[in-house]
Subunit: 326 residues, 2 copies
Amino acid sequence: MKIGILGATGAVGRQMLECIEERNIACDELRLLASSRSAGKAVKFRDSELIIQEAKDTAFEGLDFVLGAVEAEFAKEFAPAIKQSGAVFIDNSSSFRLNPDVPLVVPEINGEDALHHNGIISNPNCSTIITLMAVAPIHRLSPIKRMVASTYQAVSGAGINGMRELEEEVKALAAGEAVQPKVFPAQIAYNCIPWIGSDTGNGVTTEEAKLGNEGRKILHNPEMKVTCTCVRVPVFRSHSISVSVACEREIGIEEAAKAIDAADGVRYLVEGYPMPLDTSNQDLVFAGRIRKDPALDGLALWCCGDQIRKGAASNAVQILEYIVNH
Amino acid sequence: MKIGILGATGAVGRQMLECIEERNIACDELRLLASSRSAGKAVKFRDSELIIQEAKDTAFEGLDFVLGAVEAEFAKEFAPAIKQSGAVFIDNSSSFRLNPDVPLVVPEINGEDALHHNGIISNPNCSTIITLMAVAPIHRLSPIKRMVASTYQAVSGAGINGMRELEEEVKALAAGEAVQPKVFPAQIAYNCIPWIGSDTGNGVTTEEAKLGNEGRKILHNPEMKVTCTCVRVPVFRSHSISVSVACEREIGIEEAAKAIDAADGVRYLVEGYPMPLDTSNQDLVFAGRIRKDPALDGLALWCCGDQIRKGAASNAVQILEYIVNH
């Protein structure tokens, strides 16, 4: 098996490499592709060194899978060449997620969808993956009709530059220097920014629209009504979500907690509560604090997961594993 | 007029002193009361110096108003002596808020309630004040039936020690030292803690229960159903709230935005969005991002306000002003 990583030098691309190593995925070749700026640099992988190659249309020849960790515009640019090469493109960008002939997959939830692809499989948005990992087990008890979510999103969602910006702002403020945001629209240190992405036209951001649009597709639940507020917070790499759900039938607290804890890839904390610091640098999503939701006549809960891992890289590598194993 | 501040050395007590100075409240005496540890210390006020006196039962004699900025247990301890002295006790603690004969007041919303007191008037919870300042104008258009709120609460909610803890943790981490939380149940730097207060018995925290219990009383809206998730974030002094409301009749986005902007003490941002950094150290509550809420068949919005000022000290001083002016 030959695997390529497109965008191998970013936060998600590097994590994909680590995931492949950790999960002992057998591959005869691992090809790291990035911009010409990074081409030629060496990266450690298992007992050897890999040399980063320039991402261009001819770079995908002979590959079985390409894991995409680039922005939407580059995913679109390279998709035809990847298709041409015969490789399956598992893309982390938003480019193809809502295409009817592109499966959008969280393996623990709708892994089977991945088997019916036409060359492209999309990896969902990070907050969407983490939220759905927590609520899908409840949805399996009784379909979710309505969902309200407010996110507490880590700076890693904006990649390595986002993480650096938080670090540098904290340093600058400690030194009494002015802060000049570049990655985020405002200072993120000691602040919350309730705006991620761009306006979809009705005041809802592109990031907020994803939970509904992608969630309905992943859960095969076209009628689910979703309200989402996406907020950037000064946290490094785990996203947290405060979420309320109302299902067709009333679900009990214990019933929901048990269903979550029995599901693959997610743990329910009976004591205490998940926090972004505790859930970083690992693959599980943690849920907790399930309680009655009087406003929705449903349940409220809190969940956290590592944005770079389960929110992006690990989920993409799991899709690859799912296809290989089925 | 003679005014006392009980708990004059804490974050809220100090801010009360500042508010009295800023708002040019005429007073013949301002008596600062605190624990014996602080007694004897001098504090600047207008052109003079005030000497802090020890808070004890005989310390309230001759006062017309006592502004309370102490924990619930001390508020309860001193309430009888304050009543005995004939002073009106405007208390910022949670001790008396839900007592049927104690008005719970946000002057811009239910100022008239303050006039029907029996010696004690309660200042509401900080997140409750800030959330209600944003949604009360919508409620006046049509009664709110259901509300879902997720908070992003500043460390100032835990007083000066909470603010110091965030500062010290950031310093310690920068120096590569271990962090030892004392005020908060976990490291707050670069983290979110979804637990404030204690368990009310059903998984809901005392802090979360306040928005519903206090909100119903302040809005005179006993049937309002409220779900709240309270989360501490690494922000210094403004609370933010992501809130959804459904009213008896459907309210339009423009109609709601206009109503909010026309209300006293709150501004609606048409461009951009409120952020905790921008709304600190001033008295207005800022709302923004009103949009349709498909899950509740209502409206979603975002609001921010300074926790120490409008969330506590300024609101208490405004209650005093309201009584004096009426």
